[in-house]
Amino acid sequence: MASAVGRGAGAGPLLLGVRHHGPGSARAVRAALEEVRPRVVLIEGPPEADTLVPLAADEEMRPPVALLAHAVDEPGRSAFWPLAEFSPEWVAVRWALEHDVPARFIDLPATHTLAWGRQQDEAEVVGERPLDAEADADTAEAEAAGDTATDPAAGDTGPVPTPRSAPDPTPDSAPDPDDVRIDPLGVLARTAGYDDPERWWEDVVEHRGAGKGDALAPFTVLEEAMAALRETYGSGGHDRDLVREAYMRLQVRAAQREFEDGVAVVCGAWHVPALRQKTTVAADRALLKGLAKVKTDMTWVPWTHRRLSRASGYGAGIESPGWYGHLFSAPDRPVERWMTKVAGLLRAEDRIVSSAHVIEAVRLAETLAAMRGRPLPGLSETTDAVRAVMCEGSDVPLALVRDRLVVGDVLGEVPSTAPAVPLQRDLARLQRRLRLKPEALERELELDLRKETDAARSGLLHRLRLLGIAWGEPAASRGSTGTFRETWRLRWEPELSVRVAEAGVWGTTVLSAATAKAEADAVAARGLADVTALAERCLLAELPEALPTVMRILADRAALDADVGHLAQALPALVRSLRYGDVRGTDTGALGEVAAGLAERVFVGLPPACAALDADAAEEMRRHVDAVHGAVGLLGDAPAAAQGRLRTRWQSVLRVLCARDTVPGVIRGRAVRLLLDDGELTQEEAARLMGLVLSPGTPPADAAAWIEGFVGGGSGGGMLLVHDERLLGLVDAWLTGVPAEAFTDVLPLLRRTFSAYEPGVRRTLGELVRRGPAAGGGAAPAGSGIPGFAAELDQERADAVLPVVRLLLGLDEVAETAGEDLAGVTG
């Protein structure tokens, strides 16, 4: 131990091996720096960021933040170095700034690491992906998110960058399953008899009380352990580490020349033995020869605790950023303070948690730790205690604790003076390519989606809207209502630049950012309708990568939503999306499946939901029935085999509705009408049902509602009555039979029904009624065919039109048969 201090002050540089994002390491680093007071602090990180170091002292800078490196001409190729308040690197940077000591990053420059990514695009899983799957997602969701963990940028910028997102892949990085790398922490933990490396590290390093004895002792011990590991495993499969370590050694040597003894290095513990190693400058130079380069740019971007967590797909992530943050910031009694925090959160959520609960939870956690042989209660003990004492054994409130505290909602901030984010660059590039200039003056833009450029422009505007950058507002198209036309009102306000900077959190390109935002929005969406609307917007914005997530959440919400009304509302939007997708040539297979599933759920739930409704609810439900009918009609047109059955199933649901007495009249009437229009119900059957409803046994109000449903509104029911005088006769007979006292009750309903008709229809109806029922009997012959028409064609009257038709078509010499066909159609 004494030798460590000697080394620090004497011979070599002071090497502080740490675990990234380890609060214990962070505290130890601060203590060590305080004690040794080096004249320069070298930190593992991209040297391009050296100029950005002073920004860390800016008042507006709040961790967690990340250093972002991206290729200048390819913003989608990027790498992140996240730093939390409790990251040893951050602590080192802050210490250096506070003590006016230069801080330098000494890792291999990002210009090389990003170029590596270009060389091998297939190799490893990307450490960090810009999208941020919610950490509170359940396991199934998390797995699904993992499956789709390909970088969204891959969609249009080609190969995915592969540099690790952490300053290095050292101790904390979980080994990728298909990776031969060793996990140094895992080996050490197994040697110590722990099955969980995370826990071993917590016990040995993080939970050691700070300030006990020698500030450098922990580093010496860790270095010895790592040295033993490196002896056994060499580079442990981390081949690139050799190159990086060679670079770091060179940098350390350079610093030593400049500052002699006062050099402190903060790097991953894994690298310490390698930096200690005596190699020749020439050998190190040789390793670095011929490395590929790309032009890179660096900046600070805000980060979140959620994205530090492993659940969000960040390779070097930690399970519990919030917990670590707490351990780092709590001055003393971390368990007591933690329990108090948990109690506060649960109280805010209206759970009854008293101080006695807190006391008992602390006691339980400490006893558990003693029983498990741990020096201090760790996260697992406190979680067990919170579950047993404060949550009554339930995992539901516990999930809240995990989400809000263990992971945490902390959002970092970056001063506005930080260099531009790559998203801005990408947007500028797209604006140039699509010849869409940001102008403060408002102007209208007509887009024809059949043209490639226009489609791309529309996609860009829709994506920006998703990101909250309201540059273009969709406006109603003039003239054409075709689905291939869009009108936008463009106007670039200065504050939109701020919005762009903010949206930089979501990704480095417009596409990846919009995808990530859409996915996050889907997870956060409250209602089913919100998710369907989002699905529609995803299609408009051409975000196929976001669709699987949105669809999954849509399917989940649909499955759990017990309100048929919500389902019925969601269905038409979904079907509309399907059709839009067709127009734009997007693959909508998944969408079709979800829509069919949604329809099934509506079918099952609709009949029970129609019972016992009051007038307003019934009217609303009737609109739902109409909407579903339209949607099913469109869905039924789709080719998939399962969708062919939907129409049949829907018709059987309608039959159930029209036969059930508990269903309000307006819905029953509408069901009969829909079946009649589809030709599923014969004219006779419809008349029988109508007669049944209009018979004296039914309360007049019910009957009037039925009529409203059957022929009311804009459904063209007037024409039906005009042409089928038997139905008109039924209505007429019923109306004249309504008792005087009931008449005033049904009058408003009837007025609403009939006043919606066009004047012509109303007049004809009036005349028919005045003419009396005698003519009606004659107009309804006992044949089949179109309602209101004779079974056979009246040849003579049909022939009479022929000359006019010939004249119109300019086909005087066309054969007689053609004319007959036409007559059949127009007649």
Binding site: I352, R372, V389, S394
Partner: protein, 376 residues
């Protein structure tokens, strides 16, 4: 020498237990307890027979340094047992929650046996459990003859446990009427039991604790008042984690029950059992086995115990009215009965499940048809 003395006493205990239909845990596993006690050098809380660590080992199983094998009494997450034992060590009362068939009583009996060496201080909770069962009653003959005195008092198991520093057990706490439940509050918070008739009180001796079991998903239970709830640390015993484990439990239990009912063994029943377990698990968890589709959960508990009874019923149907082979139609009605507890809401849930999940599944056509038949 000591070893031989101990072993004879163990043998005597085991010999005695052979006469009873079901020996107490402390008798049935006396050998294991003695072996654990002999080698347990960790600190023990007052009046505990074993250290908390040894109690956990007793429940979870393991091998002692001298090679004695401790059989696992509870198969499930280690965390649960650790929290339960630690709770008892912190003198907080322990509440074991869970749906029927999750081994609540089993765990509580073994905990009491390992901690106090006596699992018999038991109050069985029912809707008719009186206050006397938890506090004390009177020997009325003595009371009338000699007036109120400690001799005329009939102590409850809880009172005895307090006096002797033992572990008391309350089974089915939520079945006990709320006013009777609340008599526990003073016992658990003040650790005393006043006897106002005598102007005396019984103060709990160190080592006293209480394990209650309760079932919070059933209808018709008396929820604990928050005052009482606060006195307990709650541990929820989960349902079997993997489908395989559950199928295993169900088929083993069905086999045992079937033999005691003299039902003929069904040759191909395993497929149907697997199906029943799958349906129960999926509806219970609200997500299909492949994790693809979310489902609504019905109001019933759909516990393993219910799956067992559905399969047993099906077996009886198949044996007496069918061809002896367990078929989808034999279990369909039972499943419907278990799932649809609330005729309106649950029926919709069940139908949705049938139409969106069962219909599309390979090899489930017969089952779908059978369910449609009984559902309509």
């Amino acid at each position: 020498m000591t070893v031989s003395v101990e072993s004879t006493s163990v043998e005597a205990g085991e010999a005695e237990s052979t006469h009873t239909l079901r020996p107490h845990a402390e008798d049935a596993f006396a050998g294991e307890l003695a072996a654990l006690a002999a080698q347990d050098d960790r600190p023990r809380p007052a009046r505990w027979k074993l250290s908390p660590w040894a109690v956990a080992t007793y429940l979870l199983g393991g091998t002692l340094p001298d090679g004695t094998v401790i059989t696992p009494k509870y198969v499930g997450p280690r965390r649960i047992v650790e929290v339960a034992v630690t709770t008892l060590a912190t003198d907080r009362a322990l509440l074991l929650l869970g749906v029927p068939g999750t081994a609540k009583t089993w765990v509580s009996e073994h905990l009491a046996a390992a901690v106090s060496g006596d699992s018999t201080l038991l109050v069985q909770g029912t809707a008719g459990t009186p206050e006397e069962a938890i506090r004390y009653g009177w020997n009325y003959a003595r009371l009338l003859a000699h007036g109120p005195s400690r001799d005329a008092l009939v102590p409850s198991p809880v009172m005895r446990a307090m006096a002797d520093g033992m572990t008391a057990r309350v089974e089915e706490l939520t079945r006990i009427p709320a006013d009777v439940q609340d008599t526990l509050i003073t016992i658990l918070s003040e650790k005393t039991l006043p006897i106002p008739e005598l102007g005396q009180e019984v103060q709990a001796v160190r080592g006293f604790n209480l394990i209650a079991t309760a079932n919070d998903r059933d209808r018709g239970v008396n929820d604990l008042s928050s005052a009482l709830r606060r006195r307990f640390n709650t541990v929820v015993l989960p349902l079997p984690e993997s489908p395989e484990a559950e199928v295993d439990i169900v088929s083993r239990r069905v086999d045992q029950i079937g033999r005691s009912l003299d039902l003929p063994a069904a040759p191909d029943g395993l497929d149907e059992i697997r199906r029943v377990v799958t349906v129960f698990r999926e509806l219970r968890d609200g997500v299909t086995g492949d994790g693809r589709t979310k489902l609504k959960s019905p109001s019933g508990t759909l516990s393993t115990a219910e799956a067992i009874s559905v399969v047993t019923n099906g077996l009886a149907l198949a044996a007496h009215f069918g061809d002896g082979v367990l078929r989808p139609s034999d279990v369909a009605a039972g499943i419907l009965g278990a799932v649809v507890r609330d005729p309106a809401a649950d029926r919709v849930i069940w139908q949705e499940y049938l139409e969106t999940v069962v219909r599309e599944r390979d090899g489930w056509k017969d089952f779908y048809r059978a369910c449609r038949e009984v559902s309509v």
